[in-house]
Amino acid sequence: MTQNSSSSSSSTVLVYSDLPEVTRELITLARKIGSTNTAVAVLGHGDLSDQVSKLSVEGVTTIYEITNDSLKDLLAEPVVDSLEVIFKEAGSPKVVLIGSTKRGREIAPRLATRLNIGCITDVSNVSISSNGVSADRLVWGGNAIATVSSKGSAVLTLPLRANEKASGSSQPKVVDVNATPNPPKVRVIERKEKPSGQVSIKDADAIVSAGRGFKKKEDLALLDPLASTLHAVVGASRPLTSDLGWMPEERQVGLSGTTVKPKLYVAVGISGQIQHLTGMRDSKLVVAINMDKNAPIFQECDYGAVGDLYAIVPELDKALRAKLSR
């Protein structure tokens, strides 16, 4: 992380996410980029004191709180109304950090448009400069990294889990902001929780993922013994989830699915479309099995096996079990 010396005098960073644990990740990043005044927006309805105290973590200097019935579902329009007021209250900071949750990705461009400032989404490597903010983001399906710079203030969205959650405690100044956000024109009529008890790829230590190399849905069962030996969760590439429907969407690893960072990622029959690579790039060890020697996945793996997955997967499981005595 670099910080331009010209900004060292004082810089306010405003952070917001609809999910408090993501807000704590943003607080960590704010400190890394040299924020001297980290302001947190806490929005909701009813009594928010519990949230305020949970977000009074190390590094936070000010908490701006707006409680209003319009903010019950934290939908884009009232949230943007609220953040507009807080942005001005906080002295038009140079940087606004928003978590890249679904709601966050809806809010950030609207907020930037409302405030007539820049917007840079899904960034890494953020730095504050004298005239604005600079950050990296993947473009061209992850084939390239663009460094994007703003002229003046900007709203940035940050991928989830890219930073540690801030902890510890602080005694921030709590400002009860007087604002009346408009009620949202979008109504939530039903919300189904994600079925519980299901394994999630998001937090898995090991993932075995399937791609187009599988000829039919039934063949995916071939991965089960290997996954079990590796204590891994089974994931999939976009074609298998979005296009073929062989696996549920929540198992999709990739830019349009879930970004994962397990200790071990095994890509089976996945060619390595950039949209997929982007979702697993932060894995500690990447292993690939693919028929095509020239598949891009072999440029992005630590260990690879060229060959028929139908032959290699059972052999790999056998070899692992023999060596692990499982």
């Binding site: 399906g141 949202p184 039903e190 630590d302 028929d308």
Partner: protein, 258 residues
């Protein structure tokens, strides 16, 4: 509906040695997910009546994609093209689209976009356009239906699946799983040329020239690099049982298996 004409990212040549991306000879296309947006617009029209106008901000070459959108079933198209639009960032692009909608489309109920494009994938244009127009938005719709003047949509958020609704006018950005885009028939491709296609420039749109192009953009790309892969890239080839055994050994050596 709004879509983008992009360079096909799968045709780019990546030169890792020289840290360069070669765009030469790469074909262009309608951005993948924008086809889902076109498809959904046409399906709604086929079911509910009305008409679909396709809007595209792009260079003169984008006409090729505009024709494809017409072949897929859009009724008319507007290509928003002007040298001054070049290097517009996503918000400036949304401003161009908003200007076209305000000035040239007297009445609309529904705007459909994708969630992002395959080139820059900023995901900014949809929500920014809704903000410029002062209308609500439903992003990441994986299923949508229209009845009367109301849109109902399903979308997945971090906590689960949400069903939301809003009255017209509303902008919906759809995700890829919403449908399977059609391939136009030869007859549809042939007749696309007869549909109304207008080119509109900055003057026709009466927009603020200071709000578009590089000057009017609040962010700009200052450098483009090829990501470096720090992977070991040890590749095994041979008989399956030998390859598998070497692979197993390599994995276990790393100490990542509990």
């Amino acid at each position: 509906m709004c879509f983008k004409h992009v360079v096909d990212e799968t045709e780019l040549k990546i030169d890792r040695q020289n840290n360069k991306i070669n765009f030469e000879g790469a074909r262009t296309k309608i951005s993948d997910d924008d086809k889902n947006a076109i498809e959904e617009s046409v399906r709604i029209k086929e079911k509910m009546g009305g008409s679909v106008t396709a809007l595209c901000v792009g260079p003169p070459e984008a006409k090729k994609s505009v024709k494809e959108a017409l072949a897929m079933g859009c009724d008319r198209a507007r290509l928003l093209v002007d040298p001054s639009f070049q290097d517009s960032d996503a918000i400036a692009t949304a401003y161009i689209l908003a200007s076209a909608i305000k000035k040239k489309i007297p009445r609309y109920d529904l705007i459909i976009t994708a969630t992002g494009t395959t080139d820059a994938l900023t995901g900014i244009v949809g929500p920014a356009l809704a903000e410029f127009l002062g209308i609500p938005q439903i992003a990441f719709a994986s299923k949508m239906s229209v009845s009367g003047n109301k849109v109902t949509a399903d979308r997945s958020v971090e906590e689960g699946l949400e069903t939301v609704e809003a009255e017209f006018p509303v902008l919906v950005s759809v995700s890829r799983e919403i449908n399977q885009p059609r391939f136009p028939t030869l007859i549809q491709i042939m007749s696309a040329g007869k549909k109304e296609m207008l080119e509109l420039n900055a003057r026709a749109l009466e927009l603020d020239p200071r709000a578009v192009g590089r000057e009017g953009s609040k962010v700009e790309v200052t450098s483009l690099n090829v990501p470096k892969s720090a992977r070991k890239k040890v590749i095994f080839e041979g008989k399956p049982e030998e390859t598998a055994s070497q692979l197993a050994e390599a994995i276990l050596k790393e100490g990542v298996v509990k």
